[in-house]
């Protein structure tokens, strides 16, 4: 088994206390360790928040970090407690985790897998983090998840939407609360058909990397199942900034729907270009031309400005859920309130999923009575909960993916402020977005067994 052996601040606190005045160095063999990687033995526990702080997703990373800081406050019994009151599991009491005060370290993933792994390794090896969480892209999530599996710590994914994270690259030590490409497709398709009719021809522009592929596949298969036809799909380079040459052929391709399987800056630019080329006003096949963006993000909606108005997409969560759709989404308001009061604006879905993941981890540790990864895995597998803003949710044991309602949203025509850019169209219930663990879009992966590390 693994012999990841690392510095542990927790141990050292007590160790240093005991060793005070000692001059003889103590020498430890890796094998002399029992238990698991970074077992916290002092009165604190360290979590690692690994988010993009530079590069295109830095703002999203900053929002994730805000949520983490809020979660730590709440876990330590500071602030108003946020979702702790609404969480269906009442194991957490605001006294840290298992009585240990929560401390955290931060790192910069730069949205590059190498940098993200370097940062995560430093958290594990230097800072003694017992759980790593965060990230804003699937490449990073998959890379860090694999690292955590090897090292024997828990990975609670941040924003990662590719099927692969809990599909072919799933890992026993990794968990994803965020929804995925398949769910976006399954949630959006019925509503698209409902809004735009079943006789539609779709043209896909797809970011040329894994997330783009899984999203395109999910969108195409779920819409085709309901009668749509996929006219063409074109891959666009990740580094593209001007999409004009990809957008221009769309109008004359016979398609009447454009699906932009893009995220972040790609999405902002391709959508802006599509609007510039008049696709919003165009008519095709005697119908109004429409644009669909499968994965929405508030921050990117802000970047897209007016162009996002009227465009359908899906989200993991939205801060208006409880206000508009009631009790089922309780917890939303509690979180929005504490976040808003601390930072002055409502949280993004990235912030929400990160906050929830931290709480879920803390809760699982508390219920398991141990920080041991395998115990945590066991506590999280098949865990059903409510009150964290998404309604009743299941952490499925087979692939460590959360199953919950998916929010279908539309860009607002006349937003009142820069945080009110989307309106909720409908919520697709859990059953409709649930799939079998061995669904073809998720095949080829195995969780393996949980790893406790050293």
């Amino acid at each position: 088994m693994s012999k990841y052996n690392v510095t542990r601040r927790g141990v050292l606190r007590t160790g240093a206390g005991a060793a005070a005045g000692l001059t003889l160095p103590t020498y430890l063999r890796a094998a002399a360790h029992s238990g698991f990687t970074n077992a916290p033995t002092g009165d604190t526990v360290t979590l690692g928040f690994n988010v993009p702080q530079s590069g295109p997703y830095a703002d999203e990373g900053a929002d994730e970090l805000r949520a983490y800081q809020l979660a730590v406050e709440h876990l330590n019994g500071e602030g108003d407690g946020g979702m702790l009151q609404t969480f269906s599991s009442q194991a957490l009491e605001g006294t840290g985790i298992l009585g240990k005060k929560v401390e955290y370290v931060t790192g910069d993933t730069q949205t590059k897998s190498d940098a993200a792994r370097a940062s995560a390794r430093s958290m594990i090896e230097k800072d003694g983090a017992v759980m790593i969480t965060g990230g804003s892209s699937s490449g990073v999530a998959v890379a860090v998840q694999a690292l955590c599996q090897e090292a024997g710590v828990i990975f609670m994914a941040g924003l990662t939407h590719s099927n692969d994270t809990t599909g072919k690259d799933r890992k026993a030590n990794g968990f994803r609360h965020f929804f995925n490409s398949y769910m976006s497709g399954a949630a959006l398709a019925p509503i698209l058909v409902d809004q735009y009719g079943a006789d539609r021809k779709a043209y896909h522009l797809t970011a040329d990397y894994n997330w783009g592929y899984t999203t395109e596949e999910a969108m195409a298969s779920s819409t085709e199942a309901l009668g749509w036809e996929t006219v063409n799909s074109v891959k666009t380079p990740l580094t593209q900034t001007d999409f004009s040459s990809y957008i221009a052929p769309v109008l004359n391709s016979g398609a009447d729907i454009l699906v932009l399987n893009h995220y972040g800056g790609n999405m902002v630019n391709s959508l802006t270009n599509a609007v510039q080329f008049g696709l919003r006003e165009a008519q095709a096949n005697g119908k109004q031309f429409e644009i669909v963006v499968p994965l929405y993000s508030e921050l990117m909606a802000r970047g897209a400005g007016q162009n996002i108005a009227g465009i359908l997409g899906s989200q993991n969560w939205d801060w208006k859920l409880e206000n508009q759709l009631g009790e089922r989404y309780k917890g939303t308001n509690a979180f929005v309130k504490s976040f808003g009061e601390k930072y002055g604006f409502p949280p993004s879905q990235a912030a929400h999923t990160c906050y929830v993941q931290t709480l879920l981890y803390a809760d699982a540790v508390t219920r398991a009575g141990s920080f041991e990864p395998c115990a945590v895995v066991e506590a999280l597998e098949g865990f059903e909960f409510d009150g964290l803003g998404n309604g009743p949710t299941l952490y499925r044991a087979e692939d460590h993916q959360c199953f919950k309602d998916v929010v279908v949203v539309r860009g607002k025509e006349n937003p009142e402020n820069e945080f009110d850019l989307v309106e909720i169209v409908e919520v697709t219930p859990t059953e409709q977005v649930t799939y079998a663990p061995d669904h073809p879009q998720f095949s080829g992966g195995a969780l393996g067994s949980c790893n406790n590390g050293a």
């Binding site: 891959k235 004009s244 221009a248 391709s253 902002v268 510039q276 801060w319 402020n417």
Partner: protein, 343 residues
């Protein structure tokens, strides 16, 4: 055929941006012999001139609107731009609407100032230093400029729309005898193309017909001789640098509505602009412009669905592939002069 025409237009449009950036870079690179890795950052600063200017003219004061509430349930505060107070709501709104074109006037002094400060404060001391040192110092400067912008404006792209009058598309097809709606092209992109043509023309005219330009061209050809003639080339080089910064900035200002500016857009263009300059040939202004348009058009063609189906991935690599082929067949790029940056 109609698709072909659209892609030519796209290519010209992309090419305009490449050509403008490469033109400025060639002025610095070919004239002053400075490898300027901060050139992308200058382009980015130009785009942010548009952002800053539109923020400035939409500066507003808050009025509490009791009838509405915000997301926490408190009374809503509504922003009213000062422009509305000064010029009345209508004229004020249209001034704000025209922010990007007006930002040109704002950006010219700003970019000249930036270029001037950069040359006097930093680049001047690096003319005689090895290229490696120039790379390091300008790269450092680029990072610093980027981070300053990031600190103020965040990492997200900032939408900077073109004026209302330029939204929508021009129906080229009708014009060329095709059916309506077959060849549509956005007005703003046409504006960008013409703007680029004007700027490029102005730079060439300036270099061709003024004494200043003649001295600079002579300096590009043989710096030592011009120095020996007793002409104070330094002062002219400062101006030259400021002009190059200004060209990069103008390219950025007008580009803002096409691609929403973000703090690292300069880095995205940096490598490409070096490729364009080198493919055009070191020290050749027409070469840089021509290469810009050539690569823009080829990139557009390569991203046509039919082409991508035939050669998967060609859209990813076409620029580099073409660059390799050109540099192998024409040792000094398309129009390069001998001996410039060959050691």
């Amino acid at each position: 055929m109609d698709q072909f025409i659209v892609q030519v237009l796209n290519g010209l449009d992309k090419g305009s941006a490449y050509a403008l950036i490469a033109l400025g870079l060639t002025l610095i690179f070919g004239t002053l012999g400075v490898v300027n890795f901060a050139h992308g950052a200058l382009f980015m600063l130009g785009a942010f001139c548009a952002v800053i200017f539109s923020r400035l003219i939409s500066l507003s004061h808050e009025i509490v609107d009791e009838t509405r509430t915000d997301f926490l349930g408190n009374p809503m505060t509504v922003d009213v731009p000062y422009m509305h107070d000064i010029f009345g709501p209508e004229l004020g709104a249209s001034i704000i609407d025209w922010a990007v074109p007006l930002a040109i006037l704002f950006s010219i002094p700003v970019m000249i100032g930036v270029g001037f400060a950069m040359e006097r404060g930093l680049i001047k001391h690096f003319y005689k230093r090895p290229h490696a040192d120039q790379i390091l110092v300008t790269f450092g400067l680029a990072i610093v400029l980027q981070e300053i912008i990031k600190a103020f404006f965040g990492a997200n792209p900032i939408q900077t729309p073109a004026p209302e009058a330029f939204t929508g598309s021009f129906d080229f097809g009708v014009w060329l005898g095709y059916d309506p709606l077959t060849i549509m092209y956005p007005y703003w992109r046409l504006v960008y193309f013409f703007f680029a043509a004007v700027v490029i023309g102005a730079v060439f005219a300036f270099l061709q017909f003024t004494t200043f330009g003649m001295v600079v061209r002579a300096g590009m050809a043989d710096r030592e001789t011009v120095g020996l003639l007793g002409i104070d080339i330094d002062k002219r080089f400062t101006l030259m640098f400021a002009m190059a910064a200004c060209v990069a900035g103008l390219a950025g200002v007008m580009y803002a509505p096409i691609v929403a500016p973000n703090y690292h857009m300069g880095m995205d263009f940096l490598v490409l602009s070096f490729v364009v300059v080198v493919v055009g040939g070191m020290g050749s202004l027409p070469g840089a412009v021509f290469a810009g348009f050539l690569l823009g058009i080829l990139e557009s063609f390569a991203s046509m669905p039919a082409v991508v189906d035939l050669l998967p991935g060609i859209n990813q690599i076409v620029i580099y592939l073409v660059a390799i082929i050109i540099l192998l067949t024409r040792p000094r790029g398309l129009m390069g002069r001998k001996g410039v940056m060959e050691e």
